[in-house]
Symmetry: C2
Subunit: 110 residues, 2 copies
Amino acid sequence: MTEAALSLRIDLAGGRIGPGKIALLEAIAREGSISGAARSLGMSYRRAWELVSALNETFASPVVAKLAGGSGGGGASLTLLGQELLTGYRAIEAAALEAAALHLQELARL
Amino acid sequence: MTEAALSLRIDLAGGRIGPGKIALLEAIAREGSISGAARSLGMSYRRAWELVSALNETFASPVVAKLAGGSGGGGASLTLLGQELLTGYRAIEAAALEAAALHLQELARL
DNA sequence: TCGGGTTATACCCGAGTGGGAATAACGATG
DNA sequence: CATCGTTATTCCCACTCGGGTATAACCCGA
């Protein structure tokens, strides 16, 4: 039982990306819409929309593709860039976590 | 030139510890007082004191030893626990950074 | 006994954050 | 062309964070 958890934040040129935005991206991919993702995460639609907006501003091309109106009212999905961001972050997270696991246990028993 | 920087935050049972508190601890060790550390970091004494208070609440025993009054007005220094926390965090940071460096470069060119 | 720099603490206030609600725009489907 | 759930946007407001300020308490050394 490791009492200590590690959370990563990446500073890109366009902005910061942390666990919250990553979780939102995953929820969007899973739910198929921003509003659905917000509901799923217990977050207000307003905040989710703002986060997506910030995410899309972070890179040269958007990370989330949005569609207003249409069948089912529309929806949102990850662009290829968004999927790459997701897997990239998770890869960094996994590598960092594995490398730090030993030291983390040590620190947890302080 | 790595465009992407990584910052770590550790969630212990008693609270979270990130780059800010670690920098403060280092400044206290270097300056010998909370107020000196605050000045050094361009931070208000009020905030520095609050961070130290939060840090000391995080663990069973204090991380910063404080002394009011006395020669030079008093001062503050790191306890043994505080020094261990510092080196532990830096070790985790170094390990995580090294492990993630490759993936970070990849992500930076998105 | 006084000075001085520190810790310790309370108060006010501006800025930023984010929720809640309301409303418009959208567009495929029936 | 009406419906429906979504995106998009705008208000208002409570809460938090942190700076600034002020003041007390502290205690060694001169």
